[in-house]
């Protein structure tokens, strides 16, 4: 909505669309989608795609720099303090990194959408409770709360999936509520009410399907946010624990060797950044075009 419309104001002339610009946008979009698909494929195939066994240790080859060739072969991204191949660890960690991001986002999206639709449709005290809860959640430094919970309950993947949705549901609730309030007074909802549909029917059969596009864009944007949060928690040592691997954990494990082996910290972060960047680029593209269409 607030982002770019396709008019050129500089000369005060309204062009139908800056054509070359839009084509450029489409090429860029294919690039980011392609990149994301590659990461998804790597996530699915997992260690099958890795050049080495991710846990295979070789103490003699420890902390080899990127592009070093050892007796075992070429280590594109170097090795860690136990001689394990970094590229293989990154490939092996792709699946869990993406999976946690996706699952936590979907849970947060479901909670936020339900609360947002109910608040927007029913109004009144439902609205007030829902919105105050969302505001309370936003006012709490969730990072601290997550650290508290995870340090006491013990770090585990399940706990991460419980904690991470808390970061994003208020956003869903707020935006979906506003959209619902906009739709509530449209003729087709009024018609459904006149026909005697129950509130639940209207919410699930009429409101949510109509908001699917908006929800979809929000999900895409939130996955990146959740993945960064997971990396942050794993970095602080309260997220995923070895032998499970995510990219955030790899950054954390490499940090003590920052002065002697920068690649252990920097390269996993580049991968995380690339995935989130492609997600954000795709999200921005859709936002622009949904905004132009709607």
């Amino acid at each position: 909505m607030s982002s770019i419309s396709t008019t050129s104001s500089r000369q005060g002339v309204v062009l139908p669309a800056a054509r070359s610009g839009r084509r450029h946008g489409r090429w860029a979009l294919s690039f980011w989608v392609g990149l994301l698909v590659v990461f998804l494929l790597v996530g699915v195939t997992g260690d099958l795609a890795a050049p080495y066994e991710p846990f295979e240790q070789a103490p003699l080859d420890r902390l080899s720099a990127p592009m070093t060739t050892t007796e075992r072969g070429l280590h594109v991204f170097g090795t860690d303090p136990l001689g394990r191949d970094l590229l293989s660890s990154i490939i092996f960690g792709t699946r869990l990194t993406l999976l946690i991001g996706l699952v936590a986002t979907v849970i947060g999206a479901v909670i936020g959408t339900l609360i947002g639709t109910a608040a927007g449709y029913y109004g009144g005290w439902v609205d007030r409770i829902g919105m105050r809860l969302a505001e309370a959640q936003t006012a709490m430094p969730m990072f601290l709360v997550a650290i508290l919970l995870l340090s006491v309950l013990g770090p585990s993947i399940i706990n991460l999936i419980v904690v991470l949705p808390a970061l994003i549901w208020p956003t869903f609730a707020r935006i979906i509520r506003a959209e619902t309030m906009r739709l509530r007074s449209t003729p087709f909802i009024e018609a459904a009410q006149a026909l005697g549909c129950s509130g639940a029917t209207i919410m699930f059969r009429h409101l949510i399907p109509n908001l699917a596009g908006r929800i979809g864009v929000l999900v895409v944007v939130s996955v990146g946010h959740v993945m960064l949060a997971e990396a942050g928690l794993s970095f602080l040592g309260v997220g995923v624990q070895p032998p499970e691997i995510t990219w955030g954990l790899l950054i954390s494990l490499g940090r003590p060797y920052l002065a002697v082996a920068w690649w252990l910290t920097i390269i996993p972060g580049v991968f995380l950044g690339l995935v989130v960047l492609s997600i954000n680029m795709i999200g921005r593209y859709h936002e622009r075009h949904l905004g132009a269409a709607g």
Partner: protein, 312 residues
């Protein structure tokens, strides 16, 4: 909803909502701390007998039922008493007050860099959409918000401290130690500010009054300075305000950890690790108060400056 309210009534309504939100925050964090575990098991020596553990529970008041503990805690809060730190045996608020100046210093330098960088590049990109500058700045800004902020800090350490040996990685007492954490916060939040300022400025350039001003023959730079900036200014200032709230609401904490900055974030992480719940609760509640009050102030500020504002 609040658009029709006069300013005093707007403030009252927001304060009432804020009080409800704050109560929910207090309740939530207290329930969480109550549910997740008993710190006594952590603080008692491993060979403590059950009797000794019971005694410790009684001394610290953990043997009372939930509602009694909560009423006691809440009653204290109203008087400004956050309870005592379990780790340091002194009021929980003291270590936080000691750590606060460091956090405020870092966040102020961070937001100054972020605001300056984001607003200036955002306006330039917004009035020249599609230019090389716009594209490059856009891509860089999206990249800055797409990488983990702590990783960006580590990257800067590798470049400037390890490879170039130009700057220290940490150190509160050496002014140079402030440069890298400030730069990290500036880049991350500057990227976010850029994205919003750019789109606000661009939207402003599409408005009819710009066309009128230009058709009068005014130079574009004059129109930007005289008209566009004045209209976009409120939103830009509000954006920087939000970003500061966001920073104080948590983002700066991970950066403090990376650079061993002796601020509230580091204190909180330490407190979580030693299950010092009163300090952690106080930190969460105070952050909540800050976020709630700051939101009201930012909203009120933009309402006072620009009386036309009609929130949708």
């Amino acid at each position: 909803m609040n658009s029709t309210l006069s300013i005093p009534r707007f403030v009252l309504a927001r304060l009432r909502d804020g009080a409800v939100v704050l109560f929910l925050v207090v309740l939530t964090i207290f329930v969480l701390a109550f549910v997740v575990g008993n710190p006594v098991e952590y603080y008692a020596p491993p060979d403590a007998t059950q009797e000794e553990i019971d005694r410790l529970n009684r001394i610290l008041g953990f043997d009372r039922p939930f509602h009694v503990q909560f009423a006691d805690y809440f009653g204290g809060l109203v008087r400004g008493d956050f309870g005592d730190s379990l780790f340091q045996r002194r009021p929980a608020i003291h270590p936080i007050l000691e750590a606060l100046p460091a956090t405020i210093l870092l966040s102020l330098t961070g937001i100054a860099v972020a605001g300056l960088w984001g607003a200036v590049t955002g306006v330039i990109a917004g009035v020249r959409p599609g230019s090389i500058f716009d594209r490059v700045a856009n891509f860089l800004s999206v990249s800055m918000v797409s990488v983990p902020n702590f990783w960006l800090g580590l990257l800067l350490i590798v470049i400037f401290a390890v490879q170039l040996r130009a700057l220290p990685t940490s150190g509160f007492f050496d002014p140079k130690g402030l440069i890298l954490p400030t730069l990290t916060l500036g880049l991350v939040h500057g990227g976010r500010i850029f994205l919003i300022v750019r789109s606000v400025t661009f939207e402003e350039t599409t408005k009819p009054y710009v066309m009128v001003a230009e058709s009068k023959g005014l130079p574009f730079s004059y129109v930007v300075g005289r008209h566009i900036l004045r209209n976009a200014g409120v939103t830009i200032a509000t954006t920087v305000g939000w970003e500061y709230v966001r920073m104080m609401g948590g983002t700066a904490f991970a950066i403090e950890f990376v650079f061993a900055w002796p601020g509230v974030g580091n204190l909180m992480i330490d407190s979580a690790n030693r299950q010092d719940f009163p300090v952690l609760q106080a930190g969460v509640i105070l952050t909540g108060v800050f976020v709630i009050v700051a939101n009201i102030v930012v909203d009120l500020g933009s309402k006072v400056v620009d009386r036309r504002l009609q929130p949708a």
